[in-house]
């Protein structure tokens, strides 16, 4: 029983991290149809910014968190302006490949100008402490991840439902031209989408930093591939789908880890992706995605 509760907490923590990442991807995708593989590099840049700040003498946890989040937003906006604006009206494949390119460029710049090796960033360690609630060992980071994810999702839902810009974003996801006809600037909607996605990336960056205590060039890319899968699993472009997909993937990961004998532990990823393939074969539009018949005007 104890063991089960422990594993459920694990799964919830993994799931919230995937969900935050997947939300960032889904936001951008729903607005401009861009599959942003470079999301991981937003996380990496945020992480490296903290690394530089620490090297310059930063000590406080709050300062590090602020830097990570601000740099996440800034990086996302820069990516949008420099790389993604020229391919805004191009087909999905073009955008996807641009994002790949950006991801490769940033990873190699970090390799070239900082170091190919991992660099220690101990400043966020205090966020990750183990304490006991009754008999259960709980990591403060896991609780934090869960809490922040819930807050972030609630805030995002409020923003999208209550503010004019949020309304514009939701409308843009369905029909961008009509939104522009209503006098909303395309650049503003897209920039807001990227800023929100950068904010979420900054938050995830804090979590990963607190857990690992170091940065390296492929800091963000491995989790983002998982998040990407979570998005597709939930239904690409649907925000609720991204959150659900992230949680499902978190539980899938932990369940496989628990169920698989030690000897086959290395096959965890292979099995996860196999199950994802099965789900997609069964529901190509994802768990929460709506079936759109070809030629339907309503998306």
């Amino acid at each position: 029983m104890d063991y089960a509760i422990q594993q459920i907490v694990n799964a919830l923590a993994f799931g919230s991290e995937y969900a935050l990442l997947a939300l960032g991807l889904a936001l951008v995708f729903s607005i401009m149809g861009l599959v942003n593989f470079a999301h991981g590099e937003i996380i990496a840049v945020a992480g490296y910014s903290v690394f530089f700040a620490v090297a310059l003498g930063l000590q406080s946890v709050l300062g590090a968190v602020t830097i990570a989040i601000v740099m996440g937003i800034v990086t996302a906006l820069v990516f949008e302006r420099v790389a993604f604006r020229p391919v805004r009206y191009a087909p999905t494949t073009t955008g996807l490949l641009t994002a790949f390119g950006v991801s490769i460029v940033v990873q190699n710049m970090l390799t070239l100008f900082v170091s190919p090796k991992a660099r220690a960033v101990p400043v966020l360690g205090p966020l990750n402490q183990t304490f006991f609630i009754g008999p259960y060992a709980v990591s403060s980071l896991q609780l934090l991840e869960l809490a922040v994810t819930i807050v972030a999702i609630v805030a995002l839902v409020l923003f999208l439902n209550r503010s004019l810009l949020g309304l514009a974003i939701r409308a843009a996801a369905r029909d961008f031209s009509t939104v522009r006809l209503m006098g909303v600037k395309a650049n503003r909607v897209i920039a807001t989408g990227f800023a929100l996605s950068g904010f979420l990336a900054g938050v995830v960056s804090v979590f990963i930093l607190a857990r690992r205590g170091s940065v390296e060039p492929d800091f963000g890319s491995a989790p983002v591939i998982k998040a990407f899968v979570a998005c597709v699993l939930g239904g690409f472009g649907s925000l609720a789908g991204a959150a659900v997909g992230g949680m499902v993937l978190g539980f899938l990961d932990v369940a496989i880890l628990v169920a698989l004998p030690q000897k086959f532990g290395g096959l965890r990823d292979a099995l996860t992706y196999f199950l994802v393939g099965v789900v997609l074969f069964w529901r190509p539009q994802g768990l929460l995605g709506r079936t759109v018949e070809l030629g339907d005007k309503e998306v």
């Binding site: 073009t94 950006v102 710049m109 393939g277």
Partner: protein, 360 residues
């Protein structure tokens, strides 16, 4: 948006020629630079450069194989390296002499540690295994489209890598599988590359290829004309996998050793970048992209390790080749989203020029 494709090559002078012959000749024209570069390398280059060139030819065959599915069906494919790996590993398992196998895979299942096949037979069997896997995966992938299909190909890559790394009894895990007989050289690689180019070109120009490309532009219209999109994607997928498998077999028979991480993300990104740079709509695009990136990256790689230029010793710059690779993709997408070649093959372009010359 991609420009509308004109299915038949715009070569009125050759209208009398049967279409199949025209495709084969067209493919051979595209393959001319491939052969010329290869012969020059064989003739002039020192052995270590021949080795580098061989890797380039392996990549060329992979890129051409990738083009068959990705270029015609317009579905992002990240899984092709799985087939390269399967091809390479199965010739390694089947053709390696017993003595080397005793060291590397003594506990192989099905008594495979006691089997040694002739390299050619082993290649045929390995290609057969690639084919069977392609049939199984193609059944799923041809029924999906867009991003779901791309994700399933990505899953395929990760699953294959997981199996190579963890099924140590058969694949020797993360370590190199060595002792494979080295039976081919650069001339064979050039021949295989030419064959791959012609096969890809014939498929592209065939009725299936034209219908598949049409369905990539507008699925609804293609279906309305009675095009069986699923069947065509399936055919393209299997053919693409077989060509990639052949590249893997070539790799194993030249290098004499295979290692799982050679068939993972790095290879996938490199070959994808080559195809995108050249333009995935044409076989010529695959060839041009592969040639430019192979030569360019090799030049940059010599800078990377700290070259001396005109007496100035440059510092070691790890990551420079990756940086350029990414920059090429980003700039290419921004300025030439359809790649360098666009929608016409090299020979079609040349025929157009000739026609215009004659007219003026």
């Amino acid at each position: 948006m991609a420009p509308a494709q004109s299915p038949a090559a715009p070569m009125p002078a050759d209208r009398s020629m049967p279409p199949l012959l025209r495709s084969i000749l067209g493919g051979l024209v595209v393959a001319v630079p491939v052969v010329v570069i290869g012969v020059l390398i064989l003739w002039l280059a020192p052995p270590y450069q021949v080795r580098i060139a061989f890797a380039g030819y392996v990549n060329l065959v992979i890129v051409v194989g990738l083009q068959i599915f990705m270029g015609n069906a317009n579905i992002g494919n990240f899984g092709h390296s799985a087939f390269v790996g399967v091809g390479a590993y199965f010739v390694a398992i089947l053709a390696t002499p017993l003595a080397a196998k005793k060291l590397s895979i003594p506990n192989a299942p099905f008594g495979l540690s006691q089997v040694v096949l002739d390299p050619i037979v082993a290649a045929v069997v390995a290609l057969g295994i690639v084919g069977v896997l392609a049939l199984l995966t193609g059944f799923i992938i041809s029924r999906l489209s867009g991003i779901a299909a791309s994700i399933v190909t990505l899953s395929l890559l990760i699953i294959s890598h997981g199996v190579f790394i963890n099924y140590t009894d058969l694949f020797k895990g993360a370590q190199a599988f060595f002792g494979i007989p080295v039976v081919i050289g650069l001339p064979t690689a050039i021949a295989v590359a030419v064959a791959a180019i012609v096969v890809a070109r014939v498929f592209r120009d065939s009725q299936d290829g034209v219908q598949l490309r049409a369905s990539a532009d507008d699925v609804l219209a293609a279906r309305a004309f009675g095009v069986d999109v699923v069947k065509l994607r399936f055919k393209a997928w299997v053919l693409s996998a077989l060509v990639c498998g052949a590249a893997g077999i070539m790799y194993a028979y030249f290098m004499g050793a295979v290692i799982a991480r050679a068939f993972f993300f790095q290879q996938v990104f490199l070959t994808l970048a080559m195809l995108i740079l050249g333009g995935m709509r044409t076989v010529s695009g695959a060839v041009v992209g592969c040639a430019i990136l192979s030569i360019g990256l090799e030049a940059i790689r010599s800078l990377e390790s700290g070259a001396t230029i005109m007496g100035v010793k440059l510092p070691e710059m790890l990551g420079l080749s990756g940086l350029s690779l990414g920059a090429v993709i980003v700039l290419g997408m921004a300025f030439r989203p359809n790649g360098l070649m666009g929608r016409l093959e090299l020979d079609e372009l040349a025929a157009g020029w000739l026609r215009r010359l004659r007219r003026s």
